[in-house]
């Protein structure tokens, strides 16, 4: 079954892009391909000059680890690990030493204003705090792009705005490329470029 029917999309470094579309429009499939979570049959996807196609699972995992930071709607933190341990995890898979990765994770949490919450478990935190831990985890490896799947979807409007402000600030201050998938026009309006997707094709 063809979900995406001819996507021609170029995202520059440092852009803040949102992808909008109703459910079933193919935006999740696009996100999965961009995140190297799924493979595709036709066409080409180049990330930072590297062609991403038909990768082995091990290579895909390595690329995800080094080049992509994920932010999910439901946070996807590991429940039995503390905030700082969650943030450390991508570095663990990179083989960074214990001391160094703890330091890096703590720095990242401090930037998110969560230094005092480092040893708390996710279920002891509010939604906004959890999402900020997830953002810290996505950023800690200094990825080429951040892929955010409905980052405000599970948050109340006030917290949602805070998180969006944070993402915008990160994009502006640190020039991190960001792709945000959403169906919320309010969120999309805050990005520099909005890509509408409908029935597998882009209508900008």
């Amino acid at each position: 079954m063809h979900v995406l029917k001819g996507i021609d999309l170029d995202i520059q470094e440092g852009e803040l892009v949102s992808i909008m579309g109703a459910s079933g429009s193919g935006k999740s499939t696009l996100l999965n391909i961009l995140g190297i979570l799924d493979d595709y049959d036709e066409g080409e996807y180049t990330l930072d000059g590297t062609l991403i196609k038909n990768l082995s699972e091990t290579r895909a995992a390595e690329y995800r680890n080094r080049m992509i930071g994920f932010i999910f709607q439901s946070f996807n933190l590991i429940g039995f690990k503390t905030a700082v341990e969650n943030v450390e995890l991508p570095l663990f898979y990179q083989g960074v030493s214990r001391r160094k990765r703890h330091q890096m994770a703590m720095d990242e949490l401090e930037k998110m204003g969560l230094k005092d919450w480092a040893t708390h478990y996710p279920n002891e935190m509010s939604g906004g705090q959890r999402q900020r831990v997830a953002i810290a985890r996505a950023l800690v490896t200094r990825p080429q792009i951040i892929l955010a799947d409905e980052p405000t979807g599970a948050l109340d409007s006030k917290t949602g705005i805070e998180v969006m402000d944070l993402l915008k600030r990160l994009n502006h201050d640190e020039h991190i490329t960001m792709i945000i998938v959403t169906h919320d026009p309010g969120v999309a309006a805050q990005t520099n470029r909005v890509i509408h997707i409908k029935d597998g094709v882009i209508e900008e």
């Binding site: 979570l37 799924d38 699972e57 995800r64 994920f70 990179q94």
Partner: protein, 418 residues
């Protein structure tokens, strides 16, 4: 490695009940394996100790009844071993026979002062002490000079001596006792062997043969031998020996009933084989018990993987390779199995020690003799190492299915699972 251990510790701590239930199955399996092997060893050791009473490389020959007609004589003739059979054994079979002797039996009453006991007189050669591993409490055994001079001397077991001289049985040494109507000098007292109540009193063979008018009958022939290593060699020797002796009694050379040969060497060999079979059987039973534990671990690991699908999905999304996931599950399985298995093994060893302390040290008094059912019912270091190896293999086997399942988890699907 420490990282992995910490990860496992975290997950194990999260599911205390499940981890301990799983562990219990494995611990129980190993416990049973160790106890079975230990008890088996105990029984085998006890049996071996009984067998140890005789020198392995010895044969005893006694007369039987012909079972086939030969040379004009019909079957059913009783065969009595005679002096020339002993000479033949000593000379014709010199190549293999070390020392040969004969044993004659007679009953008599031995008296000392007012006390008397009824005894079983054995007319023996000096080699008898070697074959039966006779241990002397004092004095000496029958020697060649006793035999040559037909001396009236005897060696009696300590329990018989006690009947005659209750307070100081050993001072009977050198005393003269009455055997029937004759006076014998006590030249040796045997150590008491509690596992058989002996009434056997040894006297020189020639003395007994003369006193009891046995003519040239020799009763049994017993000898030690050398140079027969395999079962085939032993069989060939027995065949040649049988043919020779049978011929001297006009019995068919291949008549297996004319004389009886009791070869303690081949008996010990068969015993060894039997012991090997028993041990294999115990291992198999134990391993099957353990198998249920392994299936339990595997099952619970599968459930764990299912529950942790989302977690593995997250891990993969942020960069864990399938190998990493495989590794962590198998390691967890090995550690759970190994740790609890070790507890089971230690408990099993404790149970064995307890068995040793109770059954092992308390001999069973039957009235006639005393015996021990278990001797040293413990497992060797080698067995413990073997069991450890089994544990590691078991852990891997238990973990492999769940681990493959976990490694195959696709992150998109896992992240969606809720």
């Amino acid at each position: 490695m420490i990282e992995t251990l910490l990860e496992i510790w975290q997950t194990a701590r999260r599911n205390k009940l499940r981890t301990s239930l799983t562990g219990f199955a494995v611990a129980w399996g190993i416990f049973m394996l160790v106890v079975l092997l230990g008890a088996g060893n105990g029984l085998i050791n006890a049996q071996m100790q009984n067998n140890d009473r005789y020198v392995d490389n010895s044969m005893v020959v006694f007369g039987g009844m012909t079972s086939k007609p030969y040379n004009g004589l019909k079957e059913g003739r009783a065969i009595q071993l005679e002096d020339n059979d002993l000479t033949t054994t000593q000379q014709r079979f010199r190549q293999n026979v070390d020392k040969a002797g004969a044993v004659l039996f007679a009953n008599s009453t031995i008296a000392y002062g007012e006390d008397y006991v009824s005894s079983n007189l054995r007319g023996v050669y000096p080699v008898d002490a070697e074959i039966n591993k006779t241990k002397l409490a004092s004095g000496r055994f029958i020697n060649d000079i006793d035999l040559r001079d037909r001396r009236k001397v005897l060696v009696m077991p300590e329990n018989q001596a006690r009947e005659l001289l209750p307070h100081a049985p050993l001072s009977l040494l050198g005393q003269v006792v009455r055997v029937g109507d004759l006076a014998f000098t006590v030249v040796g007292i045997e150590q008491e062997d509690k596992s058989r109540m002996s009434t056997d009193v040894s006297v020189p063979f020639t003395t007994l043969q003369t006193i009891y008018n046995q003519g040239n009958h020799v009763g049994r022939i017993a000898f030690t031998f050398h140079g027969l290593a395999t079962e085939q060699e032993n069989e060939a020797f027995e065949q040649r020996y049988r043919a020779t002796i049978n011929r001297q009694h006009s019995a068919a050379p291949d008549d297996e009933d004319a004389i009886w040969i009791w070869n303690r060497f081949t008996q010990a060999m068969q015993m060894q084989k039997g012991v090997g079979i028993i041990q294999t059987a115990l291992w198999i039973i134990g391993l099957f018990t353990l198998l249920s534990g392994i299936v339990g671990v595997s099952n619970i690991m599968l459930i764990t993987v299912r529950e942790r699908t989302r977690e593995f999905g997250i891990r993969k999304a942020i960069g864990a390779s399938p190998m990493r996931i495989l590794h962590i599950i198998i390691t967890e399985s090995i550690i759970v199995t190994g740790l609890f298995g070790y507890v089971g093994m230690l408990l099993g060893i404790c149970a064995n020690l307890y068995m040793d302390a109770t059954l092992g040290s308390k001999p069973i008094e039957t009235g006639l003799f005393t015996t021990t059912v278990f001797v040293d019912p413990t497992v060797s270091l080698g067995t413990c190492l073997g069991v450890t190896l089994v544990l590691i293999i078991a852990g891997t086997v238990a973990g492999i299915m769940p681990a493959l399942k976990a490694a195959r988890i696709r992150p998109i699907e896992a992240l969606r699972a809720e």
